[in-house]
Amino acid sequence: MRLERRTRSSPAAIAAASVGAILFTLAVSAVLVAAAGAPVGRTYALLLQGGFGSVFAWSETLTRAIPLIFTGLAAAVAFRARLFNIGAEGQLYAGALAAVAVGGLHDGAGLDWPMWLLFPAMLAAAALAGALLLLGPALMKSRLGVDEVVTTLLLNFIVLLGVSALLDGPMKDPTAMGWPQSVALQDGLSLSQLWPQTRLHSGLIGACVLAAGLWLVLKRARLGFDIRAVGANARAAAFAGVPVTRTVVVVAMLSGALAGLGGAVEVAGRTGYLTLDMSPGYGYTGIVIAMLAALHPLGVVAAAIFTAGVLVGADSMSRAVGVPSSIADVIVATSLLAVLVASLAAQFRIRLKG
């Protein structure tokens, strides 16, 4: 019997690795639950119930999954080309800001455009804002060799402070009683409800369509081939005639646009205006989701729903048994590390006869 490296991991092996990693994570987190003095079985039951146990739980989970699908896709497409975009958080806010700048009610009156034009203009502005935000780090990476991880991370802080300044100043809603809250979107721009009496909105459909579209592009289009080649080995790709810099820039624009769109959808689907606490770290969680999904766009949808369920479930579980809700973040972080190890295991197979 011996271990041997697979030339290509099978989808089944990757799926098994993800499930194994999640089971391992739940076992590790059980220690923390026990440390908090709560019954482990009941805590997990409550967590599952809070995330997936009722129509209301599902609606909350799916609503929470929408921004995560966008940031997960943003991370997945970038990571495939080895562009480590850690800036989805900033791109999300930049997109949301652009959305309210275009579609907002400034001084009570917004842009006087017909809705069929204003709605796509709002989305385009959000996508463009996110894309442009990542363009700088992508160019610095390919032209100067500046590590994009640090630049995109630092940009998150800069964008959030910039949004904060704008919400205190020119973008502030004068009717918000002093809260740093942006002007509201015009009425016709909000996304329709998918399910009566819940917060679930049609952004979910948009997110799923984008995931499917991205999957097709990566699988069938020339761009998908170029991304794979650059991700596998940039030098070899350049030698083979793949336009490396152009591919990295296109991937950056695509990735940033996805995260920016996520910001616009979050504003148009949920709140109708932008506040500084719009995202509790969706940009960072998106990275975990992309890794859980092995960078597969359709897997991102599944991983986002799972993660959203854990986050939503942890809130209600925390209220019931008093385990701090940050356990959800521990679960998410541990599953990231566990899935990395498991994916390594999926690259090997056991040969019984040498």
Partner: protein, 307 residues
């Protein structure tokens, strides 16, 4: 202009520069050590949070201040061991593992804090390190002992790294692990050791915040300082002396923006001043990018017998 001159003439300003610099000096030295051995360590942000909490918790439960520092170093070292197991042992992506450790260490710290104190409105406090008035030197007397330790660590690390056989071996491991292996240098243990030691220093960088600069633990108190350290290492071209210089230069601007912001009569929104440290870090990266002498094997996992 007059206003800036006033600020610069005030010893309290220079004292603030040194205080702001201390966690950056320690964090930068920690990252530098890992990167010289060829391993990127993006876990620093989370390890600083974990160090800040564990050091403070130890002191809160009655341990002496230096024991709290040691506790933070041990916690940092443990996370370093995890990073080493994943990136050196299993040769996984250094980028993603580091981010994972940051997420994990931050989440675990917040979880433990909530577990210990629940939803408190005012965070409990400790008695932090006292200023070293007995030194009698103007600016240094305002500082606490950990700052002295951070300053002392710079020449020590520079000497070990650049003047001793151990340092030579470590740099070789970061430049050309194949050659190092053929010289009989154990690559994987060397890298593991560097990460563990570097992570211990990162833990102490975090503990400085709760044991010296403040007297309590706050959520988001590390607030990107770790990422700034990662940028400072590039700025310092992986040299301890330049790391000190970079951290001081950086803190100079940070302290200056703080004063300008406090002087109040500025027409600019305060957020623009707060942006300055992050913008400066990016600028520093761009400025030195052309001549950055990355350790040749940085971010390249090493497997025995593979090239």
């Amino acid at each position: 202009m007059n206003e800036i001159a006033d600020i610069l003439a005030n010893p309290a300003f220079w004292s603030a520069v040194l205080r702001i610099a201390t966690p950056l000096i320690l964090g930068t030295l920690g990252v530098l050590l890992c990167e010289r051995a060829g391993v990127l360590h993006l876990g620093i942000e989370g390890i600083m949070v974990a160090g800040a909490l564990s050091g403070w918790l130890a002191v809160y439960h009655g341990a002496p201040l230096w024991a709290g520092m040691a506790c933070a170093a041990v916690v940092g070292a443990l996370f370093g061991l995890l990073h080493a197991a994943l990136t050196v042992g299993l040769a996984l992506s250094q980028h993603v593992c580091g981010l994972g450790i940051t997420l994990l260490a931050t989440a675990l710290s917040y979880f433990s804090y909530r577990l210990a104190f629940g939803q408190v409105s005012t965070p409990p406090t400790i008695t932090p390190f006292a200023p070293m008035a007995w030194l009698g030197v103007p600016v240094l007397a305002e500082q606490t002992a950990p700052t002295l330790m951070a300053l002392a660590l710079v020449p020590v690390l520079a000497w070990v790294l650049l003047r001793t056989p151990l340092g030579l071996a470590l740099r070789m491991v970061g430049e050309n692990p194949q050659a190092a292996e053929s010289q009989g240098i154990p690559v994987l243990p060397m890298r593991t050791g560097a990460i563990v030691a570097g992570s211990a220093i990162m833990g102490m960088a975090g503990a400085f915040l709760t044991l010296s600069a403040f007297n309590a633990f706050y959520f988001n108190m590390v607030n990107g300082r770790g990422w700034i350290c990662v940028a400072l290492v590039v700025f310092a071209s992986w040299r301890p002396g330049k790391a000190l210089l970079g951290a001081l230069l950086f803190s100079f601007f940070d302290a200056l923006q703080l004063r300008l912001q406090q002087s109040g009569d500025s027409a600019l929104p305060y957020q623009l001043y707060l942006m300055l440290p992050y913008a400066l870090s990016i600028l520093a990266l761009v400025l030195v990018a052309r001549k950055a002498a990355y350790p040749q094997a940085l971010m390249k996992p090493y497997r025995k017998g593979e090239r």
